[in-house]
Amino acid sequence: MLKISLLLAIAAIYGLNLLDVLVVPADTISPYQPRSRTPVAESTQALFHEQFVNRAEVVPRVHAPTAIINANGELHSYWYGGASEGAEDVAIYGARFDPQANAWTDQHKLVSPVSASVQTGYWVRKIGNPVAFAHPDGRIWLFYVNVTIGGWALSAINLATSSDGGRTFSGHKRLVTSPFFNRSTLVKTPAIEFADGSIGLPVHHQMLAKHGELLKLNSQGDVVDKRRIPSESSALQPALVSLPDGTLLAFMRSDAGKLLRSSSANQGATWSQAVSIDVPNPDSAVAVVSTSTGLLLAFNNDPKNRDVLNLAHSIDRGNSWQEFYVLEYLPNLHEHDHSNEFSYPWFVKDPNGFYHLFYTWQRTNIKHIRFNETWLEEQLRGDV
């Protein structure tokens, strides 16, 4: 009797599970389709503006900015700051751009290790890279790296959501991304939106080896798929961009001195072997965004140092890049001096045609550069 009952139970539950899996096929990632944007009110005059986002007196060290445009068109930026990278007083801060005053305002602390622990139900000892995403349903998602034991290689990712356009966040939860104590998945680069409403979150794994990966999340923020990006050398922090034909490109930092490039013709389901391209990379994140004529890249133009930050443009699907503008250049005096660091760039395009670039400025400030298409075209033509 027990034997028959158990066999029936196994058969029934197996059937129910299989039905779930087969009725909702999850083995393909749907084609990427960028959301339609409000028509661009393009200015004919070249505009370029730069300013700091954070108030430096609040915390001594800051890093890893991220930014979104919310449904009301407001620009919000987030970053982490504290005594030093990895210190236990590090918290995530946010601020809002006031276009009338042309200034950043309302800087406030959003997430601390204690608040993350209480909200998620998992102890968090320190927190790191935030990644913001404006969900099509109007919510703002804020992913952030967190560590309980060990260093960054043993990180997990938490997700918090905002229903007030990115001013406050709640509902923190830990994403389940790995079978090893849910460890070693980190986030840094912008998420993308798929046509079926799911979200593609580029992440990286760095335990026995360093790999770029793509997570697929459903509208509740649960991880429902994971794909690894094969690479010829260690690869981290994939920056994704979509081409008009639907091809996804990933550009990844590497410790081999060159930037890595991979592509996916099936919208992230499988990836080509990432190979190095002729762009230096000092094992530092890059940012990439599409323009009217190709792709725009913010990168450290040196194989070893983060003391120079440049812009480059590509018209051949990111295979080759033409460096055209130096954003920052302040050489460090010797090999072990890393005080002049301009790193972790992040691009956002707003509906008015402005490009917003954020980056870490000497670890003391978050810098915001704003320019329009006309300025970009002038720089590319060399009309300066």
Partner: protein, 199 residues
């Protein structure tokens, strides 16, 4: 059920204490396990020990929850686990772990953890293991398969991946220790048998 499983880390402390103390008395075992569990809710530096345990070990798989629940209960009536049943279950778990962990931890370009998101093949394998366990009358193994499949269908853990319902590193460490111990005992027993035959 999902809310209860939020506190499954308690089993990591309460089960061993209960299992050890129940040899002396059931009351002592119950009081010791409950007291230890109560301490887990005391905040230290603003964060309770239960959150700290969860932070370090993440969520336990249903297989681990099942074994940590059954093991002390069986000891109440001094019922030992069927050795063959348990050894078989440990061997299956270890085989799955060898398939999963090296690639999931970064070896090679493919991540076997992804299999758990499209789990038709893995589900079939687990169900087949369940049927085999029933045929062999390995009731603990069969019941574990039922609990894992049912728990996955209900998504009682905060994961959509079948691997997380089947395995966790604590379980794998436990199975390695158990199987090594089992092999050691087998070797001793064979040696003794050989000695007896020769006399």
């Amino acid at each position: 059920m999902s809310e209860l499983l939020d506190y499954s880390s308690i089993l990591l402390v309460a089960s061993p204490i209960f299992a050890l103390a129940v040899r002396h008395s059931l009351r002592l075992a119950a009081i010791s396990a409950l007291t230890a569990s109560g301490f887990l809710f005391v905040p230290i530096n603003g964060v309770s020990l239960i959150l700290q345990l969860k932070g370090v070990f993440a969520d336990l798989s249903l297989t681990t929850v099942m074994l940590l629940t059954i093991w002390p209960l069986l000891r109440v009536n001094n019922i030992s686990l069927n050795s063959s049943d348990f050894t078989w279950l440990c061997a299956v778990v270890l085989t799955l772990a060898i398939t999963l962990y090296p690639m999931a931890l970064g070896v090679g370009p493919y991540d076997s953890y992804a299999l758990g998101y499209q789990p038709s093949a893995l589900l079939t394998l687990v169900a087949a293991m369940g049927v085999l366990a029933v045929q062999k009358k390995y009731w603990v193994s069969a019941a574990t398969v039922v609990v894992v499949l049912f728990g996955y269908w209900l998504r009682v853990l905060p994961s959509q991946n079948l691997w997380d319902y089947l395995l966790d590193p604590i379980l794998v460490i436990f199975t390695i220790i158990y199987l090594l111990h089992h092999l050691y005992r087998l070797r001793i027993s064979r040696r003794l048998t050989g000695t007896l035959r020769s006399t």
